[in-house]
């Protein structure tokens, strides 16, 4: 695959910075600071419309600008706000690699992600820890980008050894901690997360968390009951995404979602968990087990799984989705798989059984019970 030159990408980055500044001069600057654990990311928007569209999914994570040191800054603007439009991207379609990644010939300082569907362009200057995010128009931001915005930028901005944006869900409760829901798209992560939410359990995410495997300082907003150094899943997006099957299975949640009748065939309904069920949304949960769901139908069954099964479920979907990952996340997830027990969950038809399975896992872990490698009776320990 051919690549643009490093100079081409650097020059495009400089033009993009100038376009962001010009956009802010035209439509005004809106600043938001998001806090994920002990890391803060500043968003500098050109205009209210984009700030509103992007920030909505992060509302519980918005903090005062001076609350904590800012770790990285993302500058955001819309092509449509520039009178003469934005610069064309300096790469051809053939130079866009897997996961939308565009790297210079040496792959060093400036890298870009050109995303499908949204046509969002994320630019990263690795040396300056500076990020740019450009979209065609805030009003045309697709549903998935509104539900879980800025994933490539946040993956890069928040990554460090032992801490990564990971494709996994997390549910549980404040007393017993949480389970990490591991698996590729369609495995049942969201189904289990919604079942837990509907049953009144705590919700951190249905499919993306900031996972800190070896935390030292965790910041000030973790709940009580964390052991030092325990893995933590931080909430990123205050949303849950419901497909047609979820809407039918969880009518009480479906009733809280607007615009269901207008959904396109592949479109998911976005549940604003922060607005509709604020008490259920926690900023973080300590991770006490990995739960590997698989859609099966019929009765829900739970059994012990190996650490390798947990890693198989966790690692590939994150490693292959995140454009900036070069294998670092794999080592972190292996570390997690070694530290907490894993369970396999055959996802059946009844939501109550799914919530009961999560409950059983948390009880088993709290009691230190070593579950056998055979089906476990749901709720047997309560």
């Amino acid at each position: 695959m051919s690549r643009p030159t490093d100079a081409t990408l650097s020059n495009f980055f400089k033009r993009a910075v100038a376009e962001h500044e010009a956009s802010m001069a035209l439509v005004g600057e809106v600043e938001r600071v998001l806090r994920f654990g002990d890391r803060c990311v500043r968003l500098r928007f050109a205009g209210d419309a984009l700030a509103e569209a992007v920030t909505r999914a992060f509302l519980p994570r918005v903090v005062a600008a001076d609350e904590a040191p800012v770790h990285a800054t993302v500058c955001l603007w819309e092509e449509s706000r520039l009178p003469h439009g934005a610069s064309s991207v300096p790469w051809s379609d053939g130079e866009v690699g897997p996961r939308g990644l565009v790297r210079g010939a040496s792959g060093e300082r400036v890298v870009a992600v050109h995303e499908a569907g949204s046509l969002a362009v994320t630019l990263v200057d690795r040396d300056a820890r500076s990020l740019l995010y450009r979209v065609p128009d805030a009003s045309k931001l697709p549903w998935w980008e509104r539900a879980a915005p800025l994933r490539p930028a946040l993956f890069w901005a928040l990554s460090e050894p032992g801490r990564h944006l990971v494709h996994a869900g997390a549910v549980g409760d404040a007393r017993r901690g949480g389970v990490l829901l591991a698996g590729a798209g369609g495995s049942g992560k969201t189904t289990v997360a919604l079942a837990a939410l509907a049953a009144g359990m705590a919700y951190v995410a249905d499919d993306y968390v900031l996972l800190h495997v070896t935390p030292g300082e965790r910041g000030g907003d973790v709940g009580a009951g964390y052991a030092d150094g325990e893995p933590v899943a931080w909430n990123m997006f205050a949303t849950a995404k419901l497909d047609q099957g979820h809407l039918a299975r969880f009518p009480q949640l479906a009733a809280a979602v607007t615009g269901v009748a207008d959904l396109a065939s592949e479109e998911k309904a976005v549940l604003d968990v922060a607005a509709l069920m604020p008490a259920s949304l926690l900023p973080s949960l300590p991770i006490r087990a990995v739960l590997v769901p698989r859609i099966r139908g019929g009765r829900t069954r739970l059994r012990r799984a190996s650490a390798a099964q947990a890693l198989l479920a966790l690692a590939p979907s994150t490693a292959f989705q995140m454009p900036f990952d070069e294998g670092q996340v794999f080592a972190s997830l292996a570390s997690l798989a070694r530290r907490v027990p894993a369970f396999a969950l055959d996802v059946g038809d009844e939501p109550e059984e799914l919530a009961q399975a999560v409950d059983s896992v948390l009880d088993l872990v709290a009691e230190g019970a070593d579950a056998p490698n055979e089906p476990l009776a749901l709720g047997a320990t309560r």
């Binding site: 379609d93 866009v96 690699g97 897997p98 996961r99 939308g100 050109h114 995303e115 499908a116 569907g117 949204s118 046509l119 697709p142 998935w144 980008e145 590729a184 798209g185 396109a264 065939s265 592949e266 479109e267 998911k268 190996s306 650490a307 390798a308 890693l311 198989l312 690692a315 590939p316 979907s317 490693a319 292959f320 989705q321 990952d325 070069e326 294998g327 794999f330 080592a331 292996a334 798989a337 070694r338």
Partner: protein
Amino acid sequence: MGRVFSINNPHVVHETIDGETILIHLGTGTYYSLDGVAAEVWGLLVAGASDSETRTRIQARYDADPALVGESVGSLVEQLLQEDLLTHHASDSETPRAAHDAVVSAAGPFVAPVLHKYTDMQEFMLVDPLHDVEADAGWPHVKTD
């Protein structure tokens, strides 16, 4: 004498947990698992043992037909090369100390080593990320028509 190998860095990452090895090839979107004898073979190869040394070590550990053991180990090594997980770069002159230490547990019955291959995520790597994506769902949902 035999061939010695290196992991195909930086494209391949691997971790071994409780005797099972998981490998991800970041360039192809394929991932793999190795357990039992296969994980032992992997451990020896990445510790610097040659293919001939690896065959000899596995043959010595199991009470099984040496020819069968040697053939199945050789077959696995070829698969690892074909899948671009290993590259061979030289012939060995002396087996590194790490390879001598790589297998320490007692052997059970011999089960021919198997490379389990998973291709369900290849779509992340193989599709055109701008044009082959479902318009209503976005990346990473691939068009099915």
